[in-house]
């Protein structure tokens, strides 16, 4: 079993209303050191076998065609997640 992570973020030129709201809330909770926040999405795609180059390519294609909308979002990272064993 392997796991691929696809990270999607709003494009830099697109105003991120949710990130802005989070940035506004942080100082009220004592976190005054953060100048801005942008909020994105993390997808975890699991496969039955190992994470091969083909799997990574397919994950990138899925990220660009389905998981993100290229008008408003960018796929910023596609990588194998090796931090813990899946399904343990």
């Amino acid at each position: 079993m392997g796991r691929v992570v696809v990270d999607v973020m709003p494009k830099p030129e697109i105003l991120d209303p949710q990130g802005k709201a989070v940035a506004g809330a942080l100082p009220r909770l004592g976190f005054g050191q953060f100048a801005s926040v942008r909020q994105g999405k993390r997808f975890e795609l699991e496969v039955d076998g190992p994470v091969t180059d083909e799997v990574l390519a397919a994950a990138r294609a899925a990220g660009e065609q389905v998981l993100s909308n290229p008008v408003i979002e960018d796929v910023v990272a596609v990588y194998e997640d090796t931090t813990e064993s899946v399904g343990a």
Binding site: P10, E13, I14, L15, P17, Q18, L67, V71, I72
Partner: protein
């Protein structure tokens, strides 16, 4: 009688209102199911508002892959009139029938109000019974209604006269250049965030010139397409 399909996705809310608007305009509404890859011979299609698939992933993103949508994309390419209202507009952008996309309202609140729009293109299948520059009032209700596109796309839309509706008085969601609705190059596909199907019958619409709830400014969307199809 001219038959107009109204698509129901899981989570669609306004399909019955859209069907009622078609009927009040003099057409025959035909219920279309998202999982049925068959348009049942309809002459036009309305994608109504709501929260199809719970807005999961992005508003309209999952609906794009519904079996009925591939039929609609093909038929739209052959010139069939298609109207996307609110979530239906989001589906049309996700399906690449219309450019741009919708993100969360700039003020982050759900907005529900009677909204004044200017009509800026009266050559589409859905707007030919309006007059150019006319102001109409229809309900608006959305969370993800901020229309965005890159500057080049916005310039193209404006240069080609493809901005069909613009918000007047107040931009209720931060949409680029106040855009409320657009059309494709051929003029058969129109999408907008506000809800014309909620302003089609006296007693149930927004306030109008003749008194409270008398507004029926949305009805001409539906008479327009009926006359476009028979004419």
């Amino acid at each position: 009688m001219t038959r107009i399909g109204v698509v129901t996705f899981p989570g669609t809310l306004d399909d019955r209102d859209a069907a009622r608007a078609v009927r009040l305009a003099g057409g025959e509404p035909v219920a279309l199911w998202h999982a049925d890859a068959d348009l049942h011979g309809v002459d036009a299609v309305v994608l109504p508002g709501g929260f199809s698939y719970g807005d999961y992933l992005r508003a309209g993103a999952i609906s794009r892959f519904a079996p009925v949508m591939s039929e609609i994309v093909d038929a739209a390419g052959r010139g069939m009139p298609v109207l996307g209202i609110c979530n239906g507009f989001q589906v049309l952008t996700e399906a690449h029938l219309l450019p741009g996309s919708m993100i969360k309202n700039d003020h982050l609140h759900f907005v529900c109000r009677e909204q004044v729009l200017s009509v800026e293109n009266v050559d589409t299948a859905w707007t030919r019974e309006y007059t150019l520059g006319e102001h109409i009032t229809v309900p608006l209700k959305n969370q993800d209604g901020q229309y965005v596109a890159d500057e080049r796309t916005l310039d193209e839309l404006e240069g080609e006269g493809r901005v069909v509706f613009r918000y007047q008085g107040w931009n209720p969601n931060g949409s680029r250049r106040g855009i409320a609705g657009i059309t494709n190059a051929a003029g058969n596909v129109v999408g907008l965030m506000p809800h014309p199907e909620h302003a089609v019958e006296p007693g149930f619409g927004p306030d109008g010139a003749r008194g409270p709830r008398t507004g029926t400014d949305g009805l001409r969307f539906f008479t327009s397409v009926l006359h476009a199809l028979v004419g």
